[in-house]
Amino acid sequence: MTAATNGGAGRLRAEDIVKTFRGLKALRGVTLEVAHGEIVGLIGPNGSGKTTMLNVISGVLAPTSGRIYVGEHDATKDKSDRVAHLGVSRTFQNIKLFGHLSVRQNIEVGAISGRHKAADPDAEVADVVRRFGLEEVAEAPARSLPYGDQRRVEIARALAARPDYLLLDEPAAGMNEQESDKLLHIIRGVRDEYGCGVLIVDHDLHLIMNLCERIYVLAEGQTLAEGTPQEVRHNQQVIDVFLGSAVIDEM
């Protein structure tokens, strides 16, 4: 870990983020970093501030204090469309697709609105559709797809912008073990093929432990622990917060 006070190339860095909602401190000074090509997990009990952190990094919410750097660029004050143009794409906890638009159109919005504004968006879209195995449903309205497929479309839309960093908010929510395994392979494939850094928030500890190279644990708006899955798993504070052995055994 570097203690640098700004981002630096090839790195997404949120520094000492504080977020207050009408006096309620959701985040009390959280710092995290995602390097290019790295898969990083963000876990913690309900209400620990994981989703708030993702919203702040992606520009959906403005931090009360703290700084966000995308590479060398200070993105602290940027709104989410600017952040997307800087190469940070995201998905949402409660899937947010463009329901009446076709799967292809959903992905196309990503391709034509990201920073690259692909010279040949059709080819770009076709490529993403193929990678995600969505050919057969490409013309169907996104809202008509089964839940798991909608998750895939949302990730595909985010990737069509060719981001440097991909933020995934509970991508495995509502998935069974089989689907969650499939998702694990998709995310790993995304990192390998696109080379982007991935920051993933999820409750599925099995997924997080198997997928992530580094994990941050949040509790009550603060970083409780940080390290490799091995380190986090054996951290006594983490074990206490996750209330005993049952969950840890699962990990």
Binding site: S58, G59, V60, K79, S80, D81, V83, A84, H85, S89, R90, F92, K96, L97, F98, G99, H100, L101, Q105, E108, V109, G110, I112, S113, G114, R115, D120, P121, D122, E136, V137, E139, A140, P141, R143, S144, L145, P146, R157, A158, A161
Partner: protein, 377 residues
């Protein structure tokens, strides 16, 4: 056109634009040819008014259909277009009497149909840009409310700036520049423009903001700028409609750009289906016919030649009832989210008998299709 649209959004879209345009332009031209051969008097007038109504509806649909924000104000742009057309086409000698405050270069102008429409487009776009700058920063509901303000303010100006508008006495002496074919041509151009717009990058981004503003912004769409651009483009179409209408109607008053017209245009696109170009055209067709039949009842006490009791206000009431029924039972409008050609393709696919083994559509696509049907109905 094809080159332009290709640059806008690629080849696949160019094909969609051509097919989508033809699906509407061909029936419209056939209707025009039939009417040209058969219709006279009132029927011919109805037909010309229908083509102009299509342009009015498409201007409104371009904004409300793509952004999901209801606009009460597009009728005001129809009015602006009508006044611009009057300034540019009324004979100079009469103009001095009608609009004493008109600046010199306008006082001397005497233009034909197309230049007057182009001028209306430019003026409408500039005004839309200026008032759109603050509007585009508003949330959806606030924007809708502000269009209501626009309607009322514009009507106030039309009614009271007497030296420029003659107030409620209205404008007359506009030369008759529009006939069946020019109205049909204008409707067809508007259809092609609307279809091309829907498939343009701007159109797609606007639809994304309609479906989910937050997600579209996180995908890199500048929601404020997208809505502003759509507002300007749609206001330009509405202004063109006004300039066209003025040169057919020849005289008008401020009351013709107010509640009745707002209600009629909104009903048409809601009934046909807000999200589609075909929906606007279909809604315009249905309501034009229904209106005409019921007006016969109101005025002559006859329906299709059969005598019935006269009921005044019947057409308005019927329009309200139809709109309510649609909103209750099919809120996405008759056509929903599919254009005419998409419905056509769907019907053909269903009719075609399935070959034994093999060439069936993949199960996923079928499932998705059924699911989408459920989601829509």
């Amino acid at each position: 056109m094809a080159g332009f649209t290709t640059r806008l959004s690629g080849n696949r879209h160019a094909r969609r634009i051509v097919v989508g345009s033809l699906a509407l332009v061909v029936p419209l031209l056939i209707a025009a040819a039939v009417m040209n051969a058969l219709a006279t008097g009132a029927t011919l007038r109805l037909c010309i008014n229908f083509f102009i109504t299509i342009v009015v509806c498409l201007g409104l649909q371009m904004f409300t259909g793509h952004t999901g924000i209801v606009s009460w104000g597009h009728v005001s742009f129809v009015g602006i277009g009508a006044y611009v057309a009057a300034y540019l086409t009324v004979p100079v000698s009469i103009k001095e009497e009608l609009f004493p405050a008109l600046p010199g270069f306008l006082m001397q102008a005497q233009l034909g149909l197309a230049p007057a429409i182009l001028a209306a487009i430019v003026v409408g776009a500039v005004i839309a840009f200026v008032i759109g700058l603050p509007m585009s920063r508003m949330k959806e509901i606030a924007w809708a409310m502000s269009t209501l303000g626009l309607l009322v303010i514009a009507h106030g100006i039309f009614s009271n700036w007497r030296s420029m508008t003659r107030g409620n006495e209205g404008v007359y002496a506009i030369p008759s520049n529009v006939g069946l074919w020019s109205a049909a041509a204008a409707a067809c151009i508007a259809v092609v423009a609307a279809v091309a717009f829907k498939h343009s990058r701007l159109g797609l981004r606007a639809q994304a903001t309609r479906e989910d503003p937050l997600a579209s912004q996180a995908s890199g769409v500048n929601v404020t700028r997208t809505r502003l651009l759509v507002w300007i483009a749609s206001a330009a179409v509405s202004s063109a409609a006004g300039a066209l209408w003025a040169q057919y109607n020849l005289a008008f008053a401020p009351s013709q750009f107010y509640w009745t017209q707002v209600f009629a245009a909104l009903s048409m696109i809601v009934i046909g289906g807000l999200a589609t170009v075909s929906g606007a055209v279909t809604g315009a067709a249905i309501i034009t016919v229904v209106y005409e039949i019921l007006r016969g009842v109101e005025e002559d006490g006859s329906i299709l030649g059969i005598g019935v009791p006269k009921v005044s206000g019947l057409a308005q009431m019927a329009l309200a009832v139809i709109t309510l029924l649609i909103l209750i039972f099919r809120p996405e409008g008759i056509l929903g989210y599919r254009e005419l050609e998409e419905w056509g393709a769907r019907l053909l696919r269903r009719r075609r008998p399935r070959p034994p083994g093999g060439a069936e559509p993949p199960p996923d696509a079928q499932a998705a299709d059924t699911a989408s049907e459920e989601a829509v109905s």
